[in-house]
């Protein structure tokens, strides 16, 4: 059966990749092919949900859990069927909703890749598998949101969505490292047995990743930007995929969160506060798609709350019910956008009356969103709140439930009003039958899942999820929340009808601009830092290097001058001195030594000359000389004596 599990992911992945490679050449076949693949996906999903197979493909080595491993357990089985089902319905809607000349090959290519990534996410059993699917889902959502890349602002919206969710994804990288450090394994279920500091790190990482993907506080604002995508993309991203993935991951990792203590509490509060704050943001919107986007974050907040308090069955039920409700509402919003050319709430006055089929479906879905009994979200929300222990948390949860009735009421009050005549907006003025069918099917589930309020059905779900014995809401709680929803809904409709000024005032409040959450995601600080570092890089580091080089050159110049002036001078000096010494010694040689020799010779010559003089040859002179000599001898004798 593991081949079937492989097919679940590979079938949409490969056909999606093929469509992308084929490009515009595949535009004509893209729609039918995508529907066929999505339909096959539903069959395969049902098969794997029944047989619960396991698939492992070698991927990374060295440590346990490096393989690509897909496992279908109870939770995965529910999610796989949900994802495949919603994917099929949305694909059908997309085929009729996209304009005829659209680049369908690219659209359905990315759509199928996206669905494949979501299916892999909900069956992943190892961290590499999870991260692979998780990030590919983010990247394909970028491509889908920025599908109309040639329209201003749309690529930027995709960028914002991808960068924000990736900021959360960093948590999963860290969690993977912590898992390896704590357990020596990358298998997801092993992470539950982690303890000590690494468990805290892993839990923090998982929490951040899930909050980012699910657009919980403080990451919520990317969802607003994501509304730039085509309607089918919104219908898919905001129901069973993408934002749902974060809630799913927290439910899956609930034991880890619980083992740290703080992480579970943090998740619960993050979910509850998101449900409250983003609910208020939804109330203040004037654009239907923006309203629905904020409400998505708010409703997924209940899933996150459930994961935090350990209400696995309640959270899963909420995830499934919300998927049906929100997909239905987005299909309706998309159909109205195509038909009436507007998603502005004031211009949608009476939209549900104009197109009755889709209007009925949207009404049912909106009532479910409000939490009206006996529809789905009423039951699932109470199942979640039944698991909440703390009073404060419980009160916030109930208040958030009441707020959801307010924003749902806001939609209903407008679309069910009497139409105010045809506006000047461009549109096809037509809702295709297939769209109505899709919305109808979704509405049936949105209403029908209310059976989860029956204890028997809830127990069946718990058995599937393997979590028997979770607290269920009592009759009193169910009645209370139902009454609360009805009262809030009624009041809202009354206020919108009687005092439109209140709503206008709300839409001028900061809540309308998503309570300034977008500012948290502003790239400005990063850009400023980047520019500052680039300046340092140019002005300091590079200049230091160039400075060293210039310094070296200057040093070389100095050395060269020293070479010319000192060393060379010294050498020439020595040479000159030597020359001078030599000349000196030459002079001494000729003047002194040679002179002395010659002087001596001269002296001898003189002496010789002088000695020749007395020898005159005259006898009388010899006598005289002898007399003088004897006289001198006599004197000498006298003196000596």
């Amino acid at each position: 059966m593991s081949a079937v599990l492989g097919a679940l992911v590979l079938l949409p992945a490969l056909s999606g990749a093929a469509l992308l490679v084929a490009g515009r050449g595949a535009d004509r076949v893209a729609g039918p092919l995508a529907v066929a693949v999505a339909a096959a996906g539903v069959v395969v999903a049902a098969l794997v949900a029944g047989t619960r197979p396991l698939l492992s493909v070698p991927f990374l080595g060295i440590v346990e859990g490096g393989d690509l491993r897909l496992v279908v357990d109870g939770l995965s089985a529910v999610l796989v069927v949900l994802v495949a089902g919603i994917a099929l319905l949305v694909t059908v809607f997309a085929v009729v909703d996209l304009p005829a000349d659209a680049a369908r090959g690219r659209f359905f290519g990315y759509l199928l890749l996206f669905v494949a990534a979501m299916l892999a996410t909900v069956t992943a059993a190892t961290l590499p598998t999870l991260l692979l699917a998780w990030e590919v889902m983010g990247a394909t959502s970028y491509a889908l949101i920025g599908y109309h890349w040639d329209e201003p602002g749309k690529p930027a919206a995709g960028t914002r969505a991808f960068v924000t969710t990736r900021a959360g994804d960093l948590g999963l990288y860290v969690a993977a490292g912590a898992a390896l450090a704590a357990t020596g394994s990358l298998v997801l279920t092993d992470l539950e047995s982690a303890d000590g500091g690494w468990a805290d790190v892993a839990a923090a990482g998982v929490l951040v990743a899930a909050l980012g993907k699910s657009a919980q506080l403080p990451f919520s604002a990317w969802l607003s930007a994501a509304m730039q995508g085509p309607s089918p993309v919104s219908a898919l991203l905001h129901s069973a995929t993408m934002v749902a993935a974060g809630g799913y991951l927290l439910i899956r990792m609930q034991p880890l969160l619980a083992s740290t203590g703080w992480a579970a509490t943090a998740a619960a509060w993050a979910g509850a506060l998101t449900a409250m704050v983003l609910g208020a943001v939804a109330v203040a919107q004037t654009d239907l798609k923006q309203l629905l986007a904020a409400s998505t974050a708010a409703q997924i907040g209940f899933v996150v709350l459930a994961a935090g308090v350990g209400a696995t069955a309640g959270g899963t039920a909420q995830l499934v019910a919300h998927a049906a409700v929100k997909a239905g509402l987005f299909v309706a919003a998309g159909a109205w956008l195509t038909a009436l050319g507007t998603k502005n709430l004031t211009d949608l006055r009476g939209a549900a009356r104009r197109y009755r089929g889709i209007g009925a479906a949207a009404t049912v879905a909106a009532l479910a969103l409000a939490g009206v009994p006996p529809l789905s979200l009423w039951a699932t929300k109470d199942k979640v709140l039944a698991g909440v222990d703390g009073t404060a948390l419980h009160v916030v949860g109930l208040a958030a439930a009441a707020v959801s009735a307010v924003y749902a009421g806001r939609i209903l009050a407008v679309v069910l009003a009497r139409p105010a005549g045809d506006e000047e907006e461009p549109g096809t003025r037509r809702v295709p039958a297939l769209t109505t069918v899709v919305a109808g099917v979704l509405a049936v589930f949105a209403a029908g899942l209310g059976v989860l309020a029956l204890p028997a059905v809830a127990e069946r779900l718990e058995a599937v999820l393997d979590v028997e014995g979770e607290p269920s809401p009592g009759l009193g709680e169910l009645l209370l929340s139902g009454a609360l929803a009805l009262v809030a809904l009624g009041l809202t409709v009354a206020v919108v009808r009687a005092r439109p000024a209140v709503m206008e005032q709300l839409s001028r409040s900061p809540l309308a601009s998503w309570a300034g959450l977008g500012r948290l995601l502003s790239p400005r600080p990063a850009m400023a830092l980047a520019r500052a570092l680039a300046t340092v890089d140019d002005r300091v580091i590079d200049r230091a290097v160039v400075g060293v080089a210039v310094g070296a050159r200057r040093l070389a110049g100095m050395a060269s001058r020293a070479d010319d002036g000192v060393l060379d001078g010294a050498v020439s000096g020595v040479a000159a001195a030597t020359r001078r010494t030599a000349a000196g010694s030459a002079r001494i040689d000729t003047g002194v030594v040679d002179g002395a020799v010659r002087g001596m010779a001269r002296a001898f010559r003189h002496a010789g000359g002088a000695a020749r003089r007395p020898q005159t040859g005259l006898l009388h002179q010899y006598y005289a000389q002898a007399v003088v000599g004897l006289g001198l001898l006599l004197v000498l004798l006298l003196v000596v004596r």
């Binding site: 490009g23 070698p58 991927f59 990374l60 080595g61 060295i62 440590v63 961290l127 590499p128 991260l131 692979l132 699917a133 998780w134 990030e135 590919v136 990247a139 970028y142 890349w149 040639d150 201003p152 690529p155 930027a156 995709g158 960028t159 991808f162 960068v163 990736r166 900021a167 960093l170 990288y173 860290v174 993977a176 490292g177 912590a178 390896l180 450090a181 020596g184 990358l186 790190v201 790239p523 990063a526 850009m527 830092l529 980047a530 520019r531 570092l533 680039a534 890089d537 580091i541 590079d542 230091a544 290097v545 160039v546 080089a549």
Partner: protein, 532 residues
């Protein structure tokens, strides 16, 4: 013998090209392509016959295709080459990237003989460096690669090419001198007085003299850090890239930077294990700073090629983070350290493919409009969809999206390094967020919005004969408005060079066992040697 043929075959082809200056330029490039293709085929053959593991995993034993000849017997330096799991992937990468560059340059109009010969010479130098098992031989090939690249940038670059080339040469050459000092230190410290890497790794020198070992490691570290390049020795890189021809940039980033990181794994870690352990934290910190510095500075660039150049600093930082973590023996178990090492080595191959592709693609911009500035281009997805698709794929690969080779590398680096250096790793993870932002921003600037193309004429188009505009007496540049909207999409040779690189990056991202089966045993061996 086979390995020697692989190393010197390109040099032989280069000699033939220089000896026969009469053959036409197109044929000369043909010879280049053929020689590179044959060389790649031989590496492929080596890969097929290479059996990793088997108890002997490389580095110190179990080397394949070994050749050992005496060269300078007085200092016991020889022609010692061989292949193991560390070098084989990089040899293959060299073969692939040089072939891609050859195909990309098929129509090179400027002195094609010399151009081809220079690249073939460079290929020999790179192959030789990766195959060397002797420090002196390594050094010689290492320096020859610098010389070759100098001439490529100075001779075929644009802009301020000579200055950039000189900066590149001086900086990396001085770095290599530090490396030489380190090698001599290893020689003097070794018991048997040898330059042989295998002998040195088997019996590490300077094991019991921490100061001398530290100093030798410092010299080697500095030399390799300049080449890698790591912060703060990276500033030659953006200038060299901006002014180099596209193929030169691809080789410079794809292969030459790997000479540095490869030196860490092949020389610094196994031969100086004790010093590496002691100073591993420095490698980690330098790696993390490079990661963040490269990413943030790249984000601020206004020029495509400079941006890609800075992302190289970022990507090489991950390698150092992984290798540094591998040295923190006391704080992490062997499994985690091995994972980090495998990631670092995977990153070398992955970065070579993806950055090579990105640089070749940015060369397309230059050939069409003689500008890399973001503000001179816009809306290119409409006139050049194939180019846009290829660039987008390469960008997503480079930002580490799963499904591409970069993810396999970065995931393992982070996962393996967290235990050893938790804080550093958590900080480094931010790098992949910044790269995501900067690449998406680049895609937005280049490909969306209104089409904007610089007004200069396409030199290739001019070379292909007079166009219709010029037939009626006016020049092509004169009639084209400041913001033309025409842009020739990828030509077939450009696509033939880039697409295989991207396909390989995807294959390595989805079926990583192809490479991991070779890498993992070698990484285990390195980690074991470092842990001594």
């Amino acid at each position: 013998m086979l390995l020697t043929v692989v190393i010197f075959l390109p040099l032989l082809a280069a000699a033939v090209l220089l000896a026969a200056p009469r053959i036409p330029g197109r044929v000369a490039i043909g010879v280049w392509v053929a020689a590179s293709a044959v060389d790649l085929a031989l590496v492929g053959w080596m890969w097929l016959r290479f059996e990793p593991g088997q108890g002997a995993s490389g580095v110190v034993d179990g080397l394949a295709y070994e050749a050992h000849l005496q060269w300078i017997p007085t200092v016991n330096a020889g022609y010692h080459v061989g292949v193991d799991g560390l070098s084989l992937p990089l040899l293959a990468l060299t073969g692939v990237l040089f072939l891609a560059c050859a195909v990309y340059s098929l129509r090179e109009p400027d002195r094609p003989h010399t151009y081809a010969a220079l690249f073939l010479f460079l290929q020999t130098a790179c192959m030789g460096t990766f195959a060397s098992l002797d420090l002196i031989l390594f050094f010689v090939f290492f320096d020859l690669s610098i010389v070759g690249m100098y001439f490529v940038i100075a001779g075929w670059g644009h802009g301020n090419a000579r200055r950039s080339a000189l900066k590149f040469f001086l900086y990396t050459f001085i770095g290599s001198l530090a490396l030489l000092v380190g090698f001599i230190g290893l020689f003097l410290g070794s018991e048997e007085r040898t330059f042989d890497m295998v002998a040195l790794a088997a019996n590490p020198p300077l094991a019991d003299s921490p100061v001398a070992g530290g100093l030798v490691l410092l010299a080697i570290f500095l030399g390799l850090a300049v080449k890698t390049p790591l912060f703060p020795f990276h500033t030659w890189l953006p200038d060299a890239h901006t002014d180099a021809p596209a193929a030169g940039s691809a080789i410079l980033a794809g292969i030459l930077l790997k000479l540095g990181t490869y030196g860490f794994v092949r020389i610094a870690m196994p031969i100086l294990p004790e010093a590496w352990q002691r100073w591993a934290m420095v490698a980690v910190v330098v790696g993390v700073i490079s990661v963040l510095w490269g990413a943030f500075v790249a984000l601020a660039q206004t020029d495509v090629k400079r941006m890609i150049a800075y992302t190289s600093v970022n990507h090489m930082g991950y390698v150092l983070l992984g290798l540094g973590a591998a040295g923190l023996v006391a704080s992490a178990d062997e499994g985690a350290r091995t994972v980090a090492t495998v990631g670092a080595m995977y990153q070398m191959v992955s970065h070579g493919l993806l950055t090579g592709a990105l640089f070749l693609l940015s060369g397309v911009l230059w050939s069409r409009g003689h500008s890399y500035a973001f503000d001179r281009w816009g809306g290119l997805a409409r006139p050049a969809p194939v180019f846009a698709a290829c660039f987008a794929v390469a960008a997503f690969g480079s930002l580490g999206l799963p499904g591409f080779s970069g993810f396999i590398a970065e995931f393992q680096v982070f996962t393996g390094a967290l235990q050893a250096a938790p804080l550093a790793t958590v900080v480094a993870v931010v790098g992949i967020l910044v790269t995501a932002g900067l690449f998406l921003l680049a895609l937005q600037r280049l490909f969306t919005g209104d089409p904007v193309v610089p007004s200069e004429a396409d030199p290739d188009e001019l070379a292909e004969g007079p166009g219709p505009e010029r037939a009626d007496g006016t020049t092509a540049t004169a009639v084209r408005p400041r913001t033309a909207t025409r842009m020739q999409d990828l030509r077939s040779r450009e696509a033939a060079a880039v697409v295989p690189l991207l396909v390989l990056a995807v294959i390595l991202g989805l079926v990583p066992r192809v490479l991991l089966d070779v890498l993992e045993p070698a990484a285990m061996a390195v980690v074991e040697l470092v842990g001594r």
